[in-house]
């Protein structure tokens, strides 16, 4: 095992381990914080793979923006700070079976397919210089389309989350079902995350 492989394996264990904690922890806020650890380890893996620009974009966008957005979501849905029950649904065992099956199939297939291929780690291929040239020479059209997509998505998010004032009659009204509406009655006796808080 060479030094890059050792470092990469250590970072990968951290990333996968904290990913497991994200999907198993009982506290919502801790899940978001473990997500930070996982994304940070992934940024380190990108660095080992000489993709330095992608690594810093990962730190900026994921750790800096997306996790903060998720924390805002947790805060605005009034999630409790301590451990809360009912974060897992009833189908944990089927989910575990599906995930283990996916992992087994993918790992066997990929190890058999790629165990002889070698990456020649040579710095420079992922610098901001090279990537900027690639984006603004060959990938200009997708880049611009993506910026329009981002704008559209954020405008959509604003429209969706715009407050419903007393005389606001547009937009953000998804069918509001009271407690007596048919279809929401089964299973409504057990509500761990419900109106009680």
């Amino acid at each position: 095992m060479t030094t890059p492989e050792i470092v990469f394996t250590a970072l990968g264990v951290v990333a996968v381990g904290s990913g497991v904690l994200v999907v198993t922890t009982k506290q919502l806020v801790h899940a978001a914080l473990w997500l930070v650890v996982s994304f940070g380890a992934l940024a380190g893996m990108y660095l080992v793979l000489t993709a330095e620009f992608v690594a810093w974009v990962q730190v900026l966008i994921y750790v800096g923006a997306i996790v903060v957005l998720l924390l805002f979501g947790i805060m605005l849905t009034r999630a409790p700070i301590g451990p809360s029950e009912g974060l897992d649904s009833g189908n944990r065992l089927p989910a575990l079976a599906v995930a283990l099956g996916t992992a087994a199939v993918l790992v066997t297939l990929l190890v058999r397919g790629f165990k002889d291929a070698r990456i020649d780690l040579k710095p420079g291929g992922g610098s901001a210089d090279a990537l900027g040239e690639a984006i603004f020479r060959e990938w200009v059209l997708p880049f611009e389309v993506l910026s329009v997509l981002l704008l559209a998505a954020l405008v959509g998010a604003i429209v969706l989350s715009k407050g419903r004032g007393p005389n606001d009659r547009g937009g953000a009204r998804i069918g509001r079902s009271g407690p007596g509406v048919r279809g929401s009655s089964p299973g409504s006796s057990s509500r761990p995350n419900g109106k009680g808080r």
Binding site: F39, Y62, G73, D88, V98, K115, I119, I174, G183, P186
Partner: protein, 107 residues
């Protein structure tokens, strides 16, 4: 470095995300698991780009694009989750069953 290392770790991370999407009930935790799956795909893209030495840097540029799409997805998804919370006072994905057919209709 063997290509098997990044590829295996991304497969494991993807499976963790699959478990989270299927097993979690809180909608924000489901969004987090989707992010884990997207990151697994990103790791694959970067690894194959570095391995094949793509002249257009296709893998890394696509990784950047995926990160942007993920940011848009999280923004929109959280807006929907907040709207759901405002209308229903809960964000459990297995209790949003208004469109489910009841037993009488199924007959």
């Amino acid at each position: 470095m063997s290509v098997a290392y990044p590829v295996v770790f991304s497969a494991l991370l993807f499976s963790v995300g699959v478990y989270g999407v299927l097993a979690r009930r809180n909608a924000i935790l489901v969004l987090m698991s989707v992010e884990l799956m997207l990151n697994a795909v990103n790791l694959n893209l970067v690894a194959f780009d570095v391995w094949l030495r793509d002249a257009l840097h296709g893998g890394q540029v696509l990784t950047l694009f995926t990160i942007v799409v993920a940011a848009a997805e999280v923004g929109l998804g959280l807006a929907i989750v907040l709207l759901l919370y405002r209308n229903r006072q809960n964000i459990d994905v297995d209790r949003q069953d208004t469109l489910r057919e009841t037993k009488q209709e199924a007959r």
